[in-house]
Amino acid sequence: MSAIAEPIAEALPVAPAEPWLRRFKRVMFYGRNVDRSAKARARVGLAIVGFVVVYGIIALRLVLFGIISDSRTPQRIIVDDAVATARPDIRDRNGEILAIDVRVPSLYAEPRRIIDVDEAVELLTAVLPDLDPTELRARLSSKRGFVWLKRDITPEQEKEIYRQGLPGIGFLKENKRDYPNGPEVSHLIGHVNIDNQGIAGMEKWLDSHGLAALHMAGLATDRLQKPVVLAADLRVQHALRDELVQARDHFHAIAAAGVVLNVNTGEIVAMVSEPDYDPNDPRQANEPSRINRLTTGVYEMGSTFKAFTVAMALESGKITLNSSFDARMPLRMGRFLIHDFDPEHRFLTVPEIFYYSSNIGAARIALSLGTSAQQAFLKKMGQLDRLRTELPESAAPILPRRWSDLTTATIAFGHGLSVAPLQAVMGVAAIMNGGILIPPTFLKRTQQEADELGKRVISRRTSLMMRYLMRLNVEKGTARKADVPGYYIGGKTGTADKVVNGRYSKTKVLTDFMAILPADHPQYLLLIMLDEPKATPETHGFTTSGWNAVPTGAKVVARIAPLLGIEPRMDLPTADQLILASLKQSR
């Protein structure tokens, strides 16, 4: 201020030199003692400060706009389009697509912006005849800001409606799940609802493993998610399904199911439960006849359970392949009699019990070892607990309420204990692969991962003996029709009487067949299951497994073995020479 004060002091003496007119004006406008120049300086200073502030703000805003505006435009585009959320592709083990997202237009309306509801209803129903006019009118007359009119319309319909130029009608591109193979892999991958959320099968598993959380956060909008690779092989799956459909029609069975399992890794290479449904049209999925019988159904597996009984016997060390049991007459247990289907009326050795499928022999084996040994063994093989896989659907086994001696005897040949077929497959795979129980999986798995997960349940030696018995059963026993030349199949049949109204039915049966290939070094286990097959002229009136499930299994093996990369070997020696001999060497 002092710097300003000095010129004022100088200016004052000069003041009288001012012309009179200017002075007059000054006095008239500003008053006698006001110094204009000082005031002007202060004003200029104020103006400078003001301008600096204003331009500073403008500059700051410019900088902010420069930083922010870029990220704003593309974001808006994505939000416009991505209503239904994106899901990762699902591929089979060879990279074939099982499920993929495609963009489809969906029709919506903003009722508040519609001018003429009648016109809109008329024009829209002309293009989309399946829209209900009264419902459409109600929707368009509502005061809401946004209503869906029809999800998933065709591009042609979109073009046509676009051309009508109705105000307040618009399209959004939505992700829609497409299953190019239709019913082929239905039970395996499940399906999604209209909002692209998984509600069954592997699709649901995807949601429960992080995808749902991604959706909530609004992050899963891009299709750059890593595809999920399943253990399944589409071609094997098709071959299995094709044969099962034929078998079901041929034997007039109410259902047919099958599994192909890699015994060394626990990967489920194919799984079919027929009747199935088309995941593109999941309405049928809720029909009770279309359930996945392999995981959600529990069944008495019949004679295939003898594999467990005999494995238990051989593992105990008390019984060897040369032990023999009395099968001369039916076994009386209290009020019940245990028969053989095709009685031999003599003492049978353990291999004979296995390949003649003697109920009496199996019951006697189990009784000689005792109830608690059987319980412990079945528990160890995972037959008494609910098997959980990636699939959300699973059923707990139905255990006998009281585990009496009679129960022990019947469970020995697969009656009295109901398990999910996939569970039995897991147990038999453990018996065959050298004694390692590996939880089955639908995802691709390496041998190392399987080794880490697996736990030893029986010895290698027992496993070898069981391979021998399985092969013997194909050479001499009930599964003779399964002997596809070149693949050295081993297998065990099972025929279980179905329970109808609380009693075992004499006519309605469930037949199954477990095949291993090749029997000397098992790689794959195949389960074929037919529900209530009927007798045909070729089966000579029989409905047992050997006449229906086994031939089906043979056809399946002949088709899938080349796909699975199993090399045919001709003129192999019999089981006695090939497997039993290696057993003696290992001793």
Partner: protein, 151 residues
């Protein structure tokens, strides 16, 4: 005077800087728009690829292929006996067509073991013009040649 020149220079520099910044900003906007457009295009392409893959999946569906094969091809499923390994192959056949030999066709005929027969896939009248074209060919070799030459 120096101050005034300095002022003018500074004003000039300011104007230039402003123009330059404006240009950069403008270009950046153009680039950003271009980027957004490209991103959109990429998204569209991906969607199209997905649609095509889905379509391919439908066309490649084993059930469909099997159906078509049954209708249009006379192929049979492969029997296990039809597989073999390379080490089961017989020894290399005698190379009767040595390079530089005087009469390669004659050598071929001498070594032919398979009786020459006209199969259904060889058009019957296709054989006659072949022989008339090449008169030096012995008649016995004609069917073999026409078999290789005709579609």
């Amino acid at each position: 005077m120096i101050l005034r020149i300095l002022n003018l220079v500074l004003i000039g520099a300011l104007v230039l800087a402003a123009a330059y910044v404006y240009r950069i900003k403008f270009e950046a906007t153009v680039q950003a728009e271009h980027l957004a457009k490209l991103r959109d295009q990429v998204r569209h392409e991906r969607d199209k690829i997905a649609a095509l893959r889905a379509h391919w999946g439908e066309l490649d569906d084993p059930a469909r292929v099997q159906d078509l094969a049954k209708r249009f091809l006379k192929l049979q499923p492969v029997a296990p006996t039809q597989f073999d390994t390379l080490d089961h192959l017989p020894d290399q056949p005698p190379d009767y067509m040595r390079p530089g030999s005087k009469d390669p066709i004659g050598g071929m005929i001498e070594h032919l073991e398979v009786p020459l027969e006209v199969t259904g896939s060889i058009p019957r009248d296709g054989a006659t013009p072949q022989t008339s074209d090449n008169t030096t060919t012995p008649p016995a070799a004609a069917p073999a040649q026409s078999g290789a030459g005709s579609e």
